[in-house]
């Protein structure tokens, strides 16, 4: 079960899956150190497989939600819709999204002030890219 999934994918997906597996392993190590409980290899593999499939589901759902709202870009609204099932997660995500929105507004205000002095467009795109990457 742990091996089949990787073989059905193309090389890029395999690499992606391997990366996920590695990250999950690192996280499990930290948790093991914290809780003083060891993780078996099968457990880590199971968790990584689970994470990968769930990410696939999330991506499909997000795309569906965006299309449902007649948009071609996935929005924070879509993400919130996705996370509404668990209340704590929803709260966390809404807080984060509010923070980000706040940051965006502040940055836009700062940008507008700065753009009055020099080259606005290049800086805005740079800031926008930075903001997007942070998202």
């Amino acid at each position: 079960m742990f091996v089949e999934g990787k073989e059905a994918l193309n090389p890029a997906q395999k690499r992606l899956k391997a990366a996920v597996h590695y990250t999950v392993g690192r996280l499990c190590e930290e948790v093991a150190l914290d809780k003083e409980m060891q993780f078996s290899k099968q457990t880590i593999a199971a968790i990584s497989e689970l994470t990968f499939r769930q990410c696939e589901n999330f991506a499909k759902d997000l795309e569906m939600f965006a299309r449902h709202a007649k948009r071609s870009t996935i929005n924070t609204e879509d993400v919130k819709l996705l996370a509404r099932r668990s209340n704590s997660l929803l709260k966390y995500i809404t807080e984060k999204s509010d923070e980000i929105a706040q940051c965006n507004l502040e940055r836009k205000a700062r940008k507008k002030k700065k753009s009055e002095d020099g080259n606005k467009s290049s800086r805005e795109t740079a800031e926008a890219e930075a903001v997007d990457s942070e998202d």
Partner: protein, 521 residues
């Protein structure tokens, strides 16, 4: 003769008279011979007359006509020779002309006799002893009498009344004027023959008598009366009303099409009905309150299609204070109806809002208030005004949704669970084994949560698309999330698989010639 005995299974006057005639001694040997000859000829004529009857399209089932025609033939045999009126001839006339089962119409037995007595001898004078003439004379009555069951009962009733009028008025005239009376008495005799098939048919084929619908109407009326009495007698708590309703869910499951046979009030709405449900709840609430049947409000409610769910509790608000306790129940019932109804594609956003009231109370009250203010005024403005005036605790209609949320949580559960009875019964049926009470309760809880989640999702999907109404696209999205619709299986495939043909035609657009698509996309 034995045929006659067999055909008349019940001891009617006819059979008794027949037996008397057959067994009693006749006065003269001439009569005896004629009687014997008549009997023989009647026996001989039985197959031929029956054939004639079948030829004239009377079915063989109608023994009455056959017997009557044979009896008339026999009578002619006899009466042709006799011109004096003896008790025997009187009895024969009674037999021949009286209806098969004249229990309901005793007056008709005596009256037409003198008319027919006048008629028959006059006819016999004109044509003597000729069967051929007799047969065509009686063919029209038989055909007409046979054709009678085909037309509606209304016509029969009309003719009966006409006949009775004629009987009252025409017969004295017919006795005096035999010549003129030919037509009238013929018509009266014809009417008589018209009238008679009513009874024999109903007697001989009781299966065709349409009694069950009458019984049902009475049951509903009595039920409403009982419920009214119960509700008036006891406090309007959900549990007390559940007991008479507990017997009803089976009826509601079976009698799907009768809206007024539903169990009442907000306590137990059936799930499988969408819009007709609020109407009986509304009407019965009004009945409880006003104490008299406000059936006019029921049809009035029916006119408001979209506002049905909200109109029902709004109507309940018109009730005086003592029923305000019932109001939260009704609202909660309406909530439950809303949650259940909204899973259908035609559910409106109002249903979503009502289902949202109990759940998102903590999180976004203002958001809900705005939404609820929106549907309530737009659907039933006059009851809304009455709401404001009658509700003392809630000065604003904005507060109205909160009151049922806080106060009516337990009756809401009852109404939910009662509404889910239908699905629980389905579940127990498909389980094919007996289920414990605890299991039923768990199933109820699960179904409850499931439907709440479902409607919540639908509402959220609609809001996500910036809409206030749930549309089929939202349902498609839901089904996709449920995994029913995948990239391989589309909605149309599911429709084809599971729904009957009529729904398929409605749901799947078909392209016809001339650039016309049905149903329109």
């Amino acid at each position: 003769m034995a045929d006659f005995y067999n055909s008349d299974s019940e001891p009617t006057t006819r059979t008794l008279l027949r037996r008397v005639l057959d067994t009693a001694d006749s006065r003269t040997p001439r009569r005896l011979r004629s009687a014997g000859a008549g009997a023989q000829r009647a026996l001989l004529e039985t197959p031929s007359s029956r054939r004639l009857n079948s030829g004239t399209k009377t079915t063989a089932k109608q023994h009455s006509h056959g017997a009557r025609s044979i009896g008339r033939l026999a009578h002619f045999q006899v009466s042709g020779n006799l011109e004096e009126q003896t008790p025997r001839t009187l009895l024969k006339n009674i037999l021949l002309t009286a209806p098969e089962s004249s229990i309901l119409m005793p007056e008709t037995v005596v009256k037409p006799v003198p008319a027919l007595q006048v008629v028959q001898p006059s006819r016999k004078e004109s044509s003597r002893g000729s069967l051929e003439l007799q047969l065509p004379e009686f063919e029209p009555p038989t055909t007409l009498a046979a054709g009678l069951p085909a037309p509606s009962r209304k016509k029969q009733r009309l003719r009966l009344s006409v006949f009775q009028q004629e009987v009252d008025q025409g017969l004295p005239h017919s006795q005096e004027h035999p010549g003129n009376a030919d037509a009238s008495s013929l018509t009266s005799s014809l009417n008589l023959s018209f009238a008679t098939p009513l009874q024999p048919q109903s007697v001989k084929r009781p299966g065709l008598a349409r009694r069950p619908p009458l019984r049902r109407a009475v049951d509903v009326g009595a039920l409403l009366q009982d419920l009214r009495d119960d509700s008036l007698a006891s406090a309007p708590s959900g549990d007390s009303l559940k007991t008479p309703i507990a017997t009803l869910p089976t009826d509601t499951v079976l009698e799907d099409t009768q809206p007024f046979s539903q169990p009442l009030v907000g306590c137990s709405p059936s799930v499988h009905h969408f819009l007709p449900h609020p109407f009986p709840t509304g009407t019965e609430d009004a009945e409880r309150a006003m104490g008299h049947g406000t059936q006019s409000s029921g049809p009035g409610l029916q006119n408001h299609m979209s506002g049905a769910c909200v109109a029902a509790p709004s109507l309940s608000f018109l009730e005086p204070q003592p029923w305000s306790a019932a109001a939260p129940e009704i609202i909660e019932a309406e909530d439950s109806q809303g949650t259940v109804e909204a899973e259908e594609p035609e559910g409106s956003s109002e249903d979503e809002n009502t289902s949202d009231r109990p759940e998102l109370a903590a999180s976004t009250p203002e958001f809900l208030q705005a939404k609820q203010l929106h549907p309530i005024p737009e659907t039933a403005p006059p009851p809304g005004v009455a709401v404001l005036s009658s509700e003392t605790l809630e000065p604003a209609s904005a507060r109205l949704p909160r009151k049922p949320r806080t106060a009516g949580s337990r009756p809401r559960q009852d109404s939910y669970k009662a509404g889910l009875n239908h699905y629980i019964k389905l579940f127990s049926f498909y389980a094919k084994m007996p289920m414990e009470r605890k299991a039923f309760e768990m199933v109820e809880k699960c179904l409850d949560k499931y439907f709440q989640q479902l409607c919540n999702d639908l509402e959220v999907f609609a809001a996500h698309a910036g809409r206030k109404t749930v549309r089929p696209e939202d349902l498609e999205l839901l089904m996709r999330r449920q995994g029913l619709i995948t990239d391989q299986v589309s909605l149309y495939v599911l429709v084809e698989r599971h729904l009957p043909l009529e729904y398929r035609q409605l749901l799947i657009p078909c392209a016809f010639s001339g650039n016309s698509v049905f149903p329109a996309l």
